[in-house]
């Protein structure tokens, strides 16, 4: 079940056909889901194009809304302005293992890495699923990470899947959600899509579209959550513009009722599939197109709306989960149907 199936549409702009990040042509998402005993975790891969990302990098930028997080790869992404691996999402203690998997995969496709060229910059983002998942077990393996990349497709599942398997959101069951907006520029359709790993928000703070509030399902344990928002678009944007767009994920989270809690690693990463950057350009000056700045408000609104709706999408798709140590997260659907 998606957000709109539950009546949780957001904003005024029109979604794309899938209402997901895969409305951006070429973008796919894959999951490895772990559900066994006390393990409720997994890996989600976002692959922005079907080619080799190391050879054809994409312009990208990341913004830290609240930096209580343990990602890898964002520093170089902001310095060089490019993404050169798939983006992996997982639990906090799986970042190192996922990074290792991305490195080995990049080397396999580009044997000159670390020999004749420089190294490769793996990008892994995370949230802490330790409330439901036995995160100390460090159950995610490099094989799990690779399997998520292999499973990439345009029609992907949301809710309790992949990295979202053990996540919590506003005291309810969180997870993976997505949404998109169709944007018309120069008489052509473009898209901006968002995928969130929703694991943030204090119980009782959730605000549904129209202002409806959901009372806390559980007595308020201290938040130790996070939210990762990955924004993709096929509109050509320079790095500075990607940063501006990424920052609006923070608006979307606020619209859901969050105030970017001190213990939350709220990170937004935006990439564009326009203007791929060759690893070895054959000229000193590249030609490209770039959005005229006066049009950017449309993308800001789209990023804010789609982030908000992607969170509701995660909540709408999630099922109630009984996790480690008797911990339990009830789904929004269960709450709304009471």
């Amino acid at each position: 079940m998606r957000a709109r199936d539950l009546g949780l549409a957001c904003g005024s702009l029109t979604p794309g056909a899938r209402n997901s990040i895969a409305d951006v042509p070429g973008v796919g998402v894959g999951h490895t889901t772990l559900n066994e005993g006390d393990i409720h975790s997994g890996v989600t891969a976002i692959v922005p194009h079907a080619g080799d990302l190391f050879r054809d990098k994409l312009p990208a930028a990341a913004v830290v809304l609240n930096g209580f997080g343990k990602s890898i790869g964002l520093m170089q992404l902001n310095e060089l302005g490019t993404l050169e691996t798939p983006i992996l999402l997982s639990n906090t203690f799986a970042v190192g293992t996922c990074a290792n998997a991305l490195i080995r995969r990049a080397i396999a496709g580009n044997p000159e890495i670390g020999r004749r060229s420089g190294t490769v910059n793996p990008v892994v983002l995370e949230c802490n699923d330790g409330y439901l998942n036995d995160i100390q077990a460090m159950a995610v393996t490099e094989a799990h990470a690779c399997a998520a990349i292999e499973a990439v497709r345009a029609d992907f599942a949301v809710g309790n899947v992949g990295a979202g398997t053990g996540m919590s959101c506003f005291g309810l069951k969180g997870g993976i959600g997505s949404a998109s907006r169709r944007l018309r520029l120069d008489e052509r359709n473009h898209h901006l899509g968002v995928l969130v790993l929703a694991n943030f928000g204090n119980a009782g703070d959730l605000v549904l579209p129209g202002g409806r509030r959901i009372p806390a399902a559980a007595p308020g344990e201290p938040e130790a959550g996070s939210c990762v928002a990955v924004i993709g678009t096929d509109i050509p944007l320079e790095h500075r513009q990607l940063r501006r767009v990424a920052a609006r994920a923070g608006v979307g989270l606020a619209w859901c009722g969050a105030f970017w809690g001190a213990g939350s690693g709220d990170i937004a990463l935006a990439f564009t599939t326009a203007n791929p950057v060759p690893q070895r350009p054959d000229t000193s000056l590249l030609s490209q197109r770039v959005l005229a700045e006066p049009c950017i408000d449309l993308l800001f609104r789209a990023a804010a709306e789609a982030t908000e709706e992607a969170v509701f999408d995660a909540l709408a798709a999630a099922d109630t989960v009984a996790g480690r140590n008797g911990h339990r997260r009830i789904s929004l659907r269960e709450i709304l149907s009471r």
Copy 2:
């Protein structure tokens, strides 16, 4: 009329006695209001303590939510972590003049400035009131700036006063607003207060508490607004913590319905009256107290709530204004009473 008189209370925390930034002991606010012909503008001064700020500076930090703004003084404020003049708010083209006034005033009180000590860092923030005000006239003078400082008091006016005289907000009449929250730490009362200069938001985007939306009063002219939020507290915070708190002003603006438009100079500045920093310390190592980080979520919530309510306070207090060239901004009160 204040926000709560109009039923526009926000959030769950308790306000201070005045429900304004002046609930922070020592903080005062003064206005110079200009309303003559096509001039609808002014100056608002925030004075954080009654002493000489150059000799006893206050810890402060600023955060740029969206940098379409022309303030002065924030770079040094963030490098040295201190505020050493009153904070002036005015229209965009009055920044230079207000800065000159602050410099002359600091020199008058401290004749060694620029002679035996270094210089002084004036802090002036602004919004563009050009829709109602003839901003090209550059009508604000140094005398107006000084008069605002002289007029400082704890019980100050809100709405169409001072820098807020010609401001617009969500297509309605904006202006100056304020709110506060009482925070209990170690069994003692403390306060966090916010003052906003509200001049942001597209017509039709406003969301009142409970989710109520106000339809656009006027056909949507392109936003060229801004919002300045000044946050004061008597809780001891180090610079890094002040930045974290200031960032939550962005949450408050989002809760009002904004997405930090591309043309908006959305700036937050936070200061604490605890731990004043002497211009000439008599020791190399200063003693101070600082908030334990696990308590900071309470301040984040307070900053977000009070910023949201301060915007509603500006809207609630504002009266309809007929400005230059037949431009007109209707007050929220007028809209709600229709």
Copy 3:
């Protein structure tokens, strides 16, 4: 006298024909110099192209090396990535007045500013010349600022002129200096030029090319200086690349012997004359060229070398000055000729 006349060439790259920022086609520099009684100050204008900068903005970025400074305009420059007025340099207390002059000049050329379009973002950078100049007098007027812009030319003076009139550097007489490097890309010549307002460095820390040190001319009064470095180029760079290039001004200052003192406002601003940005684009997607990142090391080296040499240029051109209150700065030439 220029740096190379005194044997103070830096680095390995070849300078342009003028060895100044005016080797970048279209860039000109003008000065207003004030030398009367205790007033030793002025204004320097850098005009990056001969057209109207508000209508045809240039990509630009600023980097704060040490933020003990009181500039105006850098926040918006970094958010929007464009420069829309000439760059003015002056003394610390002249920033407001220079900003007012830039605003009035922009309105004169574009009467829709603040009426039908948004406002204009004046860019003014400063150093504290209070050791030689009676900075409290605030002697710089808007007319002085305008005169500097009117005086713009490609063959401009360096040393004790314009904003450099009263500046000090490593305990010696500082001022305005410039240098450039010729860069070959795709078999065409390009240039990167630097202009500095040199007012930084503790007496005794200066290191000349080859490692020669100059003993302190005067007993070490505490540094309260600054250095502004403006970098221009005709190589197309996106905002992120301009920031990277600007940061290398910090290397040039370090090569002169500085450690970016705590009291120094060390700011670098880089702009490119390629890819001008129209105020009112007639399309949503602009076409442009941009430097391939693997070539950027050449620009980094050029920026570092030219910044270092521009400082020596300021020192080489400066004459000994007797300033207010018996204060005196000896020229490097006088020291070297002893």
Copy 4:
């Protein structure tokens, strides 16, 4: 052999007794060195105090001089302002494995991590040793990382050890180096120490103290290096001050002749052993001391000098190495003795 044994003393301040980061009381360094076949790599651990860092965190800050690097942990370090694990240095592709080791070690000492408390933030910094080392082999294991921590001591080796085993610097053999400065405040001795992992600089750019240049030992292969500088002190500094001090590592690198090449991950991290921050404070307001800002120039100079000398220390201690694929790096000592 240390830098001063080779006549490579830097600056004017006095070193501590060991002239290393271990002059800061409580700080120790350990290495695991791998030298077998094509593997020339390792791990270096910096342990800032002998207790449990998760329970008693230290104030810390990181600065990115040039972000072509793949570290982990700096985002949270800058948000929360604290260090809660030892700092590990290794090769670029060992970051994930070292992070996993730090996580497991923290859990072993604090079984509530990821269960009743939040997670832990491992800090791992890296350089690319792929010129001499078969970095694709990913030879560093978690056991190697733990062994480096176990080997921590105050009298530690420099040169071709630990993470420095396979590093290159200015076309010569680089590695681990250290230096310190003794600083007197309020009539008591304090220390600031630096440890560098030196793997940066183009052949031919090296400048020795006094300005002596070393011609390129090898024809200039493109730089793909990096430099990590870790700065420790027992002077109490708040986060903002730690950032300011860390930035001066960039001055030290420039003084060695570098211009922070585009392919270099130049990162500085500064921590203080003063004001440890308890994981579970028993009060809302902590008492602490903090350096008065007017004294900070002394620390800036110390950080710049000690970083420069630490690089020379790495070069002085390194031996010539024959690495993978016939690659070879000659030591500075060998060059100087020719």
